[in-house]
C-alpha cells in the first residue's frame, strides 16, 4: 500500500501546483506570479471569527479566563467527544439547514477532517473490492480518500452539460449495471451536495429520486454536505438529505451525512470532520474507528463555545453568505463581459467555467493544452475538468474565495485577456499595478505586508516539502 499510486499524487495535475509553488503571486513582491485559483478555501470571513475569539477569551484554554479548563480538556480523549462540542455541532448543523431539521448529538462521530470522515464511513460500509457510485465530475481526492486504504472501488455516474450536469436515473442505473456486470458489489452512492466542483444544489425532486434509488437497491447513501453553509442565495434553496427523509419513507439505516468546518467556517487547519449516521451500528463502529482521527480537545472546546453562540452564528452565516454572493457576482459578471459563461450556481467557493469554445478540439488532450496555457502564460492555477473525471472536455473549476478583492480583479483581467485573444496561443500578460477597487460594495482589504493574503499555501496534495508559513524560530 505504501508503494502503490492510489494516493493520486503523481498525476499530471500536480503541474499546476508546482507552477504555483515555484512562482506564487504577491501584489508587491511578485505581481506576475501565478494566482492560486485551484484551492477551494473560504478566506472571506476570518475577521468575524478573529473578532469573536478576541471577545471570548474563555473559549481558549490558554487565556487567563479559560485556563481553569486546561487540565480537563488536555486529558480528554474520549472518542465520544466533548458533549458540549457534539451539542454545539448538532445545533449548528440544524441552524445551517434553517432549523428545518434537528440533529441528535448522540449520532455525531468525529473524523480527521472530512478527509478522515469520508474514509471512516467507507471503512464502515464497504469491504475491499466493493464499490461506491459517485456522480462525476467529482472532487479529485475521493480517489484517495475512498479507495486507497479501504480497497473500495469507485464507479462514476456520468453527468454532462446537456442537462446542466444533473444526476439522472439512467446514469445511476448505468453505473450500477456496469458494476454488476463486473461482479462487483455496489455498497453505496456518495454525493456531494452542494456540489464540488459544480457549486449547484440538488432540488427536492432530485434528492427524492436519489433516496428512492438507494432504497430500492438497498445500498447506502453518503451525503457529503461540507459546503452546506456556502449557499449564498436563497434560490434554489439548499435541501439536506436530513430533510428529505422526514418527507418520505425510506430505510434510515442507509442514510449518512459527512460534514466539516473547513469550508463553511474556513477552518481547514483545525481538522474538524463529522460523520452523522442514522444507523446505530454505524455510529457505534464509527465512533470506535474515530480513535484514529479524533478532533483535538483544544479545538473541540473552542468550537463548542463558538458554535453555541447563537447570535454569532446567525450573524456569521448571514454575512459569510453575503460576501460569497458578492464575490461570486463580481467574478461571474466579469467573465460574462468577455463571453465566458459558467454553470449557473449559488453555492460553493468556485465556479464551473465553460471554456469549451476555446478548445482546438473537444478532447482531454486539448483541454490539458489549454490548461497549460492558462498556467504558464495567463498565470492562473485553475483545475481542469478532467481532474474531476468530467466526461466533457473544456470545463474548469475556478476558485474565487481564497483571495482578496484586488487579487480577484487581477485574476479576472487576466482571464478577460485570455478570452480577448481568442484561440491565439501567445498571451501577453501585462504588469498591472495593484490598486484598490472602488467599484465593490464592500471595502477592499488592505495588504498586510508581513503576511501574505494570497497565502503561499501548500495543498495537502503538493509533493513539495517546504511550507513557507510559520518559520522555525531556531
Amino acid at each position: 500500500m505504501a508503494t502503490n499510486e492510489l494516493h493520486g499524487e503523481n498525476s499530471p495535475y500536480f503541474h499546476g501546483w508546482k507552477a504555483y509553488d515555484n512562482d506564487p503571486f504577491h501584489p508587491i513582491q511578485n505581481p506576475n506570479g501565478v494566482i492560486q485559483m485551484g484551492l477551494a478555501e473560504n478566506m472571506l470571513s476570518f475577521d468575524l471569527i478573529e473578532d469573536w475569539i478576541k471577545k471570548n477569551p474563555r473559549a481558549s484554554i490558554c487565556t487567563s479566563e479559560g485556563l481553569n479548563k486546561f487540565r480537563d480538556i488536555a486529558i480528554f480523549q474520549d472518542y465520544h467527544g466533548l458533549s458540549e462540542f457534539r451539542n454545539a455541532v448538532a445545533k449548528f448543523m440544524g441552524r445551517v439547514r434553517g432549523d428545518r431539521v434537528k440533529f441528535d448529538p448522540a449520532r455525531i462521530v468525529m473524523g480527521g477532517g472530512a478527509t478522515g470522515a469520508n474514509e471512516l464511513i467507507t471503512f464502515c460500509l464497504a469491504d475491499p473490492g466493493d464499490a461506491f457510485l459517485v456522480p462525476s465530475p467529482y472532487y479529485p481526492a475521493f480517489g484517495r480518500d475512498l479507495r486507497w486504504r479501504t480497497g473500495v472501488q469507485l464507479f462514476p455516474v456520468m453527468c454532462n452539460s446537456k442537462n446542466d450536469f444533473q444526476i439522472t436515473v439512467e446514469a445511476l442505473e448505468e453505473a450500477y449495471e456496469k458494476a454488476k456486470q463486473s461482479n462487483i458489489k455496489v455498497k453505496g452512492l456518495i454525493i456531494v451536495n452542494p456540489s464540488n466542483p459544480l457549486g449547484t444544489v440538488l432540488d427536492r425532486e432530485a434528492l427524492k429520486t436519489l433516496v428512492s434509488f438507494i432504497n430500492e437497491k438497498n445500498i447506502h447513501l453518503v451525503c457529503d454536505e461540507i459546503y452546506a453553509a456556502t449557499v449564498f442565495s436563497a434560490a434554489p434553496n439548499f435541501i439536506s438529505v436530513a430533510e428529505i427523509i422526514q418527507e418520505m419513507d425510506c430505510n434510515r439505516d442507509l442514510i449518512h451525512i459527512v460534514y466539516s468546518m473547513s469550508k463553511d467556517m474556513g477552518l481547514p487547519g483545525f481538522r474538524v470532520g463529522i460523520v452523522y449516521s442514522y444507523n446505530d451500528a454505524v455510529v457505534n463502529c464509527g465512533r470506535k474507528m474515530s480513535s484514529f482521527g479524533l478532533v483535538s480537545s483544544q479545538t473541540q472546546h473552542l468550537l463548542a463555545s463558538m458554535l453555541d453562540d447563537e447570535e454569532f452564528v446567525e450573524m456569521f452565516l448571514r454575512e459569510s453568505a453575503k460576501r460569497l454572493s458578492d464575490r461570486h457576482k463580481f467574478f461571474t459578471m466579469g467573465l460574462e463581459q468577455v463571453g465566458i459563461s459558467c454553470l449557473k450556481s449559488n453555492a460553493g467557493l468556485f465556479v464551473w467555467m465553460d471554456l469549451r469554445s476555446m478548445l482546438i478540439e473537444q478532447t482531454v488532450e486539448a483541454e490539458l493544452e489549454l490548461w497549460k496555457i492558462i498556467i504558464n502564460q495567463v498565470k492562473l492555477n485553475v483545475s481542469p475538468g478532467s481532474s474531476f473525471q468530467c466526461v466533457e472536455p473544456g470545463w474548469f473549476r475556478v476558485c474565487f474565495a481564497n483571495m482578496d478583492d484586488a487579487t480577484v480583479e487581477i485574476a479576472l483581467k487576466r482571464i478577460q485577456m485570455l478570452a480577448g485573444q481568442g484561440k491565439e496561443k501567445e498571451v501577453a500578460v501585462k504588469n498591472k499595478p495593484w490598486r484598490k477597487n472602488l467599484r465593490l460594495s464592500f471595502p477592499a482589504r488592505i495588504y498586510d505586508e508581513s503576511s501574505v493574503m494570497s497565502p503561499r499555501l501548500m495543498s495537502p496534495h503538493s509533493p513539495i516539502p517546504h511550507s513557507p508559513l510559520v518559520r522555525a524560530r531556531t
Binding site: 508503494t3 486529558i75 480527521g112 477532517g113 471503512f123 484514529f292 511550507s467
Partner: protein, 467 residues
C-alpha cells in the same frame, strides 16, 4: 446482504476485553472524594496527571500564545488555513529537539524524517498500513498494551503473533522466544514483516536492556524484518537505569547507513510524557523515505490540529521551561511509584522492578485460587466489586502467566492513591482471613478423615459456606 463492512461487524477491535469492561464499570460508579467517596477508583488508565500545574503556570506567563500574537502579528488566519500534511515547521523542529533531549542527545533527529499523526494510535496504525499487507504479521512481545489489538490489526488486516515473555527472567525478550514466535508464524502460514516493541514497556513499566535491544536488532537483520519501537513512555523514565532508544542501540553497533537502519521506525506522542492525550499529538520517525513519504500522505486522514501545533510549538520551544518540567515531572512520577510499590509491599504484594511508565506490573499470583486465567478474572472482578478498584488483569494484556495486574498510579491525587492502597490492604486482609479459615478447614478435614462420613458432613454444615 450484509449491510455493513466486515470490519464494522467483527470483534477485532477488541473492545469487549476486560480492559474496556473495567472502564465501563468505572464510568457507572466513579470515585469522587466528596460526591461518591465509595465509588470505584480508576487505576486502569495510564494517564499522567501529575504536572498540569507546571503547564498551567507556563500558560499564565505566556498568554500571548492564546491570542495568536506571538512572532509579532496575528497568525490566526494562517493557522486556520494551515492543513499542510508536512506539519508546522516550527513544531517539528521543537519536537525533534525534544526527542533528542529525552535520549540525552545521544542521537539527533531531523524534522524532515518526522511525520505528525493524530495520536500514537494513528501513528501505529499508519505504520502497519505502510509496512505490511493484509494477512501479513508482526511479532509482539507479551504482555502488551490491549489497544494494539485494535490499532494494529483492525482496519489493516495485519496479524499479531506473540513473543512469549515470562516472569522467570523478568519478562525480558530472549533469542529463543523470538525464534519460537517466528516459527509459530510460519506454522500459521503468516509472512512476518516486523517486530513491534514498546520501550519503555507498557504494561511492565521497565526500559529494555541493551542486551534485549541487540537481540532484536540481530534477529531483525537476520530475518530481514522491520522494527517499530513505540517509545511513547520515553520521557517518563524516573529510575536510575536510563532509557536506551532502539536508534541508540543501532548506532552503537555502527549500523547507520546499513540496511537495517532503514527498517527501524520510532513512534512517539505527547500523551504520556506531557499528559496531553486530548490534543492528539503523535508522530512517526523514520530514516526510510518511502515510509515517511507514504506515512505523510496517509496522515491526511488524521492531521494534528494547527491550533494545537501552534500552542505546543511555543510550549516545547521554551527549552528552559521544558528542562525544568521534565525534571520535576520525573521526580513526581518516581515518588508516586515508590508510594505504590512500598504500599503494596507492606501487604505482601510485589511489583516487577520498574523504572518508567505510569503504572506498576503487580504480582498477585499468590492471591489466585488456582493458577488459571479463570481465577485471575475472578480475582479481578472481586477487586472491582469488593475493593472498588479498577485495575487491569494481565490476560487483557495477553500475558501468558495468570496473576499479574497493571495498576496505574499517575492519574489521581496523592490522597486517592493512599485510599486505594488502604482499600487494597483491607481486601487482601479479608482474603487472607478467608484463606486461613480454609486452611483450618482443610486441616480439620484431614484430621477427621478417620471419622465416619456422616459426622464429617455435619461439621462442614456447622461452618457455613466459605465462598
Amino acid at each position: 446482504m450484509n449491510m455493513l463492512s466486515k470490519k464494522a461487524r467483527c470483534d477485532a477491535d477488541g473492545q469487549d476485553s476486560s480492559f474496556f469492561v473495567g472502564l465501563q464499570e468505572y464510568e457507572k460508579n466513579p470515585y469522587d472524594v466528596v460526591r461518591n467517596p465509595s465509588g470505584i477508583i480508576q487505576m486502569g488508565l495510564a494517564e499522567n496527571q501529575l504536572s498540569f500545574d507546571l503547564l498551567e503556570s507556563w500558560l499564565a506567563r505566556n498568554s500571548d500564545v492564546a491570542t495568536f500574537e506571538k512572532n509579532g502579528g496575528s497568525t490566526f488566519r494562517e493557522l486556520a488555513l494551515f492543513q499542510d500534511y508536512h506539519g508546522l515547521p516550527a513544531f517539528k523542529k521543537v519536537l525533534v529537539d525534544f526527542m533528542a533531549k529525552i535520549r540525552r542527545n545521544k542521537v539527533s533527529f531531523h524534522p524532515n524524517k518526522l511525520v505528525l499523526t493524530a495520536g500514537a494510535t494513528s501513528a501505529n496504525e499508519t505504520l502497519m498500513f505502510c509496512l505490511a499487507n493484509p494477512g501479513e504479521a508482526f511479532l509482539i512481545p507479551t504482555p502488551y498494551y490491549p489497544g494494539f489489538d485494535r490499532d494494529l490489526k483492525w482496519r489493516t488486516g495485519v496479524e499479531l503473533v506473540p513473543i512469549h515473555c515470562s516472569s522467570l527472567n523478568k519478562f525480558r525478550i530472549t533469542e529463543s522466544a523470538l525464534q519460537e514466535a517466528y516459527q509459530q508464524a510460519q506454522k500459521l502460514n503468516l509472512r512476518v514483516k516486523g517486530i513491534l516493541i514498546t520501550n519503555p514497556s507498557n504494561p511492565l513499566g521497565a526500559t529494555m536492556t541493551r542486551l534485549e535491544l541487540n537481540h532484536l536488532i540481530t534477529f531483525a537483520m537476520d530475518k530481514n524484518l522491520h522494527i517499530v519501537s513505540d517509545e511513547i513512555y520515553s520521557g517518563t523514565v524516573f529510575g536510575s537505569s536510563s532509557f536506551i532508544s532502539i536508534i541508540e542501540a543501532a548506532r552503537e553497533r555502527n549500523l547507520e547507513n546499513t540496511d537495517i537502519w532503514s527498517r527501524i521506525h520510532i513512534v512517539y506522542s505527547l500523551s504520556k510524557d506531557l499528559g496531553l492525550p486530548g490534543f492528539r499529538v503523535g508522530m512517526i520517525y523514520s530514516d526510510n523515505e518511502t515510509v515517511t513519504s507514504a506515512a505523510t500522505k496517509m496522515s491526511s486522514f488524521g492531521l494534528v490540529s494547527s491550533q494545537t501545533q501552534y500552542l505546543l510549538s511555543n510550549l516545547l520551544g521554551d527549552k528552559k521551561f521544558m528542562k525544568s518540567y521534565m525534571k520535576e515531572n520525573r521526580k513526581r512520577l518516581k515518588k508516586r511509584h515508590e508510594m505504590l510499590v512500598s504500599g503494596l509491599g507492606n501487604m505482601g504484594i510485589r511489583c516487577l522492578k520498574s523504572n518508567a511508565g505510569l503504572f506498576c506490573w503487580v504480582d498477585m499470583r499468590h492471591l489466585l485460587s488456582s493458577n488459571t486465567f479463570e481465577a485471575e478474572m475472578e480475582l479481578w472482578k472481586k477487586i472491582l466489586s469488593e475493593a472498588s478498584l479498577n485495575i487491569s488483569p494481565g490476560s487483557s494484556c495477553h500475558c501468558t502467566e495468570p496473576g499479574w495486574f497493571r495498576v496505574c498510579f499517575a492519574n489521581m491525587k496523592k490522597e486517592t492513591l493512599k485510599l486505594s492502597i488502604q482499600r487494597m490492604k483491607t481486601f487482601v486482609d479479608s482474603i487472607n482471613d478467608e484463606n486461613s479459615e480454609n486452611q483450618q478447614l482443610s486441616f480439620c478435614i484431614t484430621k477427621r478423615r478417620s471419622l465416619t462420613k456422616w459426622v464429617f458432613q455435619l461439621s462442614l454444615y456447622d461452618r457455613g459456606p466459605d465462598r
